[in-house]
C-alpha cells in the first residue's frame, strides 16, 4: 500500500465519564489511523461508544488519556478556543437533523462556517457558498429558505456547509437517519461522488449495517473497543441501488 497522508491518528484513546459516584468507561482504548481519501463507516449500536468517539474525532471533546492527531496536530492538550478554530478550518460536520438555521437562506446557511473565519472576505464567502451548493446539486435553490425545502434538500445544504471550509475530514453523524430510503440513497450517492471524484476523506457514523457496503472501510465499535476494522474490496454503488428502487409516483 502506498504511503498516504494520515488525516486521523488515534492512539489508545480512553474516555471516562463520572456520573454521580460511578465512573463510566465510554471508550476503553481505541487506536486506528485514517488516511487521506478513505470513506470509513464507523458502526456500533447505541451505547457502544461511537458517539463518544465521534465527539473526540470532531474535537468537541478531549480524551481522558491517549493521543489524537488531526492532520498531524495533537488535539489532546488543546483548549476550547483552539479546538473551535481547528473545527472551523479542518472539519465539516453533517448531522442527522441537518441543524440548519431557521428562516435562513441556503447561501446564508452555507456561509456560516466562513463567518467565523476572519481571513475570508464577504465576497469570497459568497462565491464559495454558491460553489459548494452547486456541487451538491442545489445551484438553482440558492435563496430558498430552510423551511421551504425538503429533508433531502436540507441535508444537501448541510453537506454544502460541511464542504465550504475545505475540511480535511467530513464527519457525518447518521446523516441519512431522518430520510426515507430513496432520499437516503441520493445522499449516499452524493457522498460516494465526493469520495470518488473529489477524493474527500469521509467518516460516516451509523448504527445501520447496510450502509457499510457503500464505504471503503468499516470500523465496528462495541463496548468502547474496536470489534473489527475491515477494508471493503467490493464497494456497492449507491447510484445503482437508487436505479433499482421504484420511482416515486409523480
Amino acid at each position: 500500500m502506498e504511503q498516504k497522508k494520515e488525516i486521523i491518528k488515534v492512539e489508545d484513546i480512553k474516555r471516562d465519564y463520572v456520573v454521580g459516584e460511578e465512573t463510566v468507561h465510554a471508550l476503553r482504548g481505541v487506536s486506528f489511523t485514517i488516511y487521506e481519501g478513505e470513506f470509513v463507516t464507523i458502526m456500533g449500536t447505541s451505547g457502544s461508544g461511537k458517539s463518544t468517539l465521534l465527539n473526540m474525532l470532531g474535537c468537541l471533546d478531549t480524551p481522558t488519556s491517549g493521543e489524537y492527531y488531526l492532520d498531524g496536530i495533537s488535539v489532546r492538550k488543546m483548549g476550547k478556543n483552539e479546538r473551535a478554530t481547528l473545527r472551523n478550518r479542518k472539519i465539516g460536520f453533517i448531522f442527522q437533523s441537518y441543524n440548519l438555521l431557521a428562516k435562513t437562506t441556503a447561501v446564508e446557511n452555507v456561509e456560516l462556517p466562513l463567518m467565523y473565519n476572519p481571513n475570508v472576505s464577504a465576497k469570497d464567502r459568497n462565491e464559495r457558498a454558491i460553489k459548494a451548493l452547486t456541487q451538491v446539486g442545489l445551484g438553482d435553490r440558492l435563496n430558498h429558505k430552510s423551511n421551504q425545502m425538503s429533508g433531502g434538500q436540507m441535508q444537501r445544504v448541510a453537506i454544502a456547509r460541511a464542504l465550504v471550509n475545505e475540511p480535511v475530514i467530513i464527519l457525518a453523524d447518521e446523516a441519512t437517519g431522518n430520510l426515507d430510503t430513496r432520499t437516503s440513497f441520493e445522499i449516499l450517492t452524493l457522498m460516494q461522488k465526493l469520495h470518488q471524484e473529489e477524493h474527500r476523506t469521509i467518516i460516516f457514523v451509523t448504527h445501520n449495517p447496510e450502509l457499510a457496503h457503500f464505504s471503503s472501510r468499516t470500523i465496528v465499535i462495541r463496548d468502547g473497543r474496536i470489534k473489527s476494522d475491515t477494508q471493503n474490496s467490493d464497494i456497492k454503488s449507491a447510484q445503482e441501488v437508487l436505479q433499482t428502487l421504484p420511482k416515486e409516483e409523480e
Partner: protein, 406 residues
C-alpha cells in the same frame, strides 16, 4: 472573529424574529420616550421661569438693609435706616465687576390726574435705573442727572398708570400729575414689560429722581435700597463679594459679626424658583427611569428565552467553529441592537410627544442634547447589562450537550 461578521450574524438572527424583536424593544421605546418627554417638560418649565426672571435683569444685584436691633428691639428690614447715600457713592466708586448703580427709595400712594386717581408706587431712582431694571422709554425721555441734583419735580410713568389716569387717550407727556399732593410733570412713558414671575404688574409705577422722592415726598435722608448691575450674569458672585466688603468696612462690622445689610442677586432668586421645578423634573425622570429599567428587564427576559430556544443553534455554531466569545458577542450585540434601536425610536417618539404637549397643552418644553445623549448611553448600558447574563449562559454551553438539546 471579525466584528462586522458578528453584527451580520446578530442582524440575521434578529431578522428572523421581527415581531418578537419589536415587542422586546417596546419596553425600551416607552422608557426612553417617557424620559425624553418628561425631561423636556421639566426643563421647559424651568427655562420659562428663568426667562421671566431675566427680563427683570439677570445681572441685577439688590442691596437692602438687614434686620437690626434698636435698644434690644428687633426691627424689620424696611424700617432700618442703615443704608446711606454715602454707601451708594462708595459702591459706585470702589466696587468691582459692576456697571451701574442707583439708590432706591419708594413710596406708595394715590396718584391723581384730573378726575382720575389710582393707587401706585413712586420709585426714587437715578437715570441708570432703566438699564439696571431693563426698562425702556417708549415716549418722551428719561430725567437727567441734572434733574436728580436739582430734585426736579419730574417723572416717568408706566403703562398701567397711563391707562388708569389718561382714560380719554390724552397724550400724557407734558401733563402734571399729583402724587400725595406733590405735583410732578410727566416727561416720559415706559415701554410695557407685563407681569413678573410673582404676578406683579411691572408697569404700575412712577419713576422720579431719588432726591425728589427723598426730600419732597418721604422727607428722609437715608435710602431704602441700592440696585446694582454686574458686568455679566457670571460676574454677580464677584460683584456681591466686592459690595459686601465695601459695606462691611463702611459700617464697621468686625469679623464674625452679623451684617446689617443684605446683598442678593437675581441668580439666587432663579435658583430658588427653579428648585421646585428641578425637584419635579427629578421625580418625573425617576418614574421614566423606572420604566426604562422595566424595559431592560424585558430584554433580559426575551434574551434568556431566546438562548434556551436556540440551544441547538448555539451547539451548531460551536461545532462549526464559533468560540465561546463569538457566541457571547453575538447575543450581546443582539441585546444592544434591540435596546439601541428601541432607544432611537424612543427618542423620536419622546421628541414627538413633547411637541404635541407644546402645541396642544401649550406647555413650555425644552429638549436638550444631553438628555438625548444620556438616553442613548443608558440604553446601550441597559442592553449590555441585561444582555450579559443570557449571553454568558449561551457562551458557556457545552457544544455536545447543546447539539443534542431537544
Amino acid at each position: 472573529m471579525n466584528i462586522v461578521n458578528l453584527f451580520k450574524i446578530a442582524l440575521r438572527a434578529l431578522n428572523g424574529n421581527k415581531f418578537r424583536g419589536f415587542l422586546t424593544m417596546l419596553g425600551i421605546i416607552i422608557g426612553v420616550a417617557a424620559v425624553i418627554a418628561m425631561l423636556a417638560i421639566g426643563q421647559g418649565s424651568k427655562k420659562s421661569i428663568q426667562d421671566q426672571i431675566s427680563t427683570m435683569g439677570s445681572n441685577m444685584i439688590n442691596v437692602r438693609p438687614g434686620t437690626g436691633q434698636f435698644g434690644g428691639v428687633r426691627q424689620s428690614a424696611s424700617s432700618m435706616q442703615t443704608l446711606k447715600l454715602e454707601d451708594y457713592e462708595a459702591i459706585v466708586e470702589q466696587a468691582e465687576y459692576i456697571t451701574d448703580a442707583t439708590p432706591e427709595v419708594s413710596s406708595s400712594g394715590q396718584v391723581i390726574f384730573g378726575a382720575n386717581n389710582a393707587p401706585t408706587t413712586v420709585y426714587g431712582v437715578n437715570p441708570s435705573y432703566l438699564d439696571i431694571r431693563k426698562y425702556t422709554i417708549s415716549e418722551g425721555e428719561m430725567f437727567s442727572d441734572e434733574d436728580v441734583k436739582t430734585s426736579a419735580k419730574m417723572c416717568v410713568i408706566g403703562q398701567t398708570v397711563v391707562e388708569n389716569l389718561f382714560t380719554n387717550g390724552e397724550d400724557p407727556i407734558g401733563r402734571t400729575i399729583r402724587f400725595n399732593k406733590i405735583p410732578m410733570k410727566i416727561i416720559g412713558v415706559l415701554a410695557s414689560k407685563g407681569d413678573n414671575t410673582m404676578g406683579m404688574d411691572q408697569d404700575d409705577l412712577i419713576l422720579a429722581p431719588y432726591t425728589t422722592v427723598q426730600k419732597r415726598i418721604l422727607a428722609i435722608t437715608y435710602i431704602q435700597s441700592i440696585a446694582v448691575s454686574a458686568i455679566s450674569e457670571d460676574a454677580t458672585e464677584s460683584a456681591i463679594a466686592s459690595i459686601e466688603e465695601i459695606l462691611r468696612q463702611r459700617h464697621k462690622i468686625g469679623i464674625g459679626e452679623e451684617d446689617d445689610f443684605n446683598v442678593r442677586s437675581q441668580k439666587e432668586l432663579i435658583s430658588m424658583m427653579s428648585s421646585t421645578t428641578d425637584m419635579m423634573t427629578i421625580l418625573l425622570a425617576c418614574i421614566a427611569g423606572i420604566s426604562l429599567l422595566v424595559g431592560g428587564i424585558g430584554i433580559m427576559n426575551i434574551m434568556y428565552v431566546s438562548v434556551t430556544e436556540r440551544t441547538r443553534e448555539i451547539g451548531l455554531r460551536m461545532s462549526i467553529g464559533a468560540k465561546g466569545v463569538d457566541i457571547l458577542m453575538q447575543f450581546l450585540i443582539e441585546a444592544i441592537l434591540l435596546s439601541v434601536a428601541g432607544g432611537i425610536i424612543g427618542v423620536v417618539l419622546g421628541i414627538g410627544s413633547a411637541y404635541i404637549v407644546k402645541n396642544i397643552l401649550l406647555w413650555p418644553i425644552d429638549i436638550q442634547l444631553y438628555t438625548i445623549l444620556l438616553s442613548f448611553v443608558v440604553c446601550s448600558a441597559t442592553g449590555i447589562f441585561f444582555g450579559w447574563y443570557p449571553a454568558k449562559k449561551a457562551a458557556d454551553l457545552d457544544p455536545i450537550e447543546a447539539l443534542r438539546y431537544e
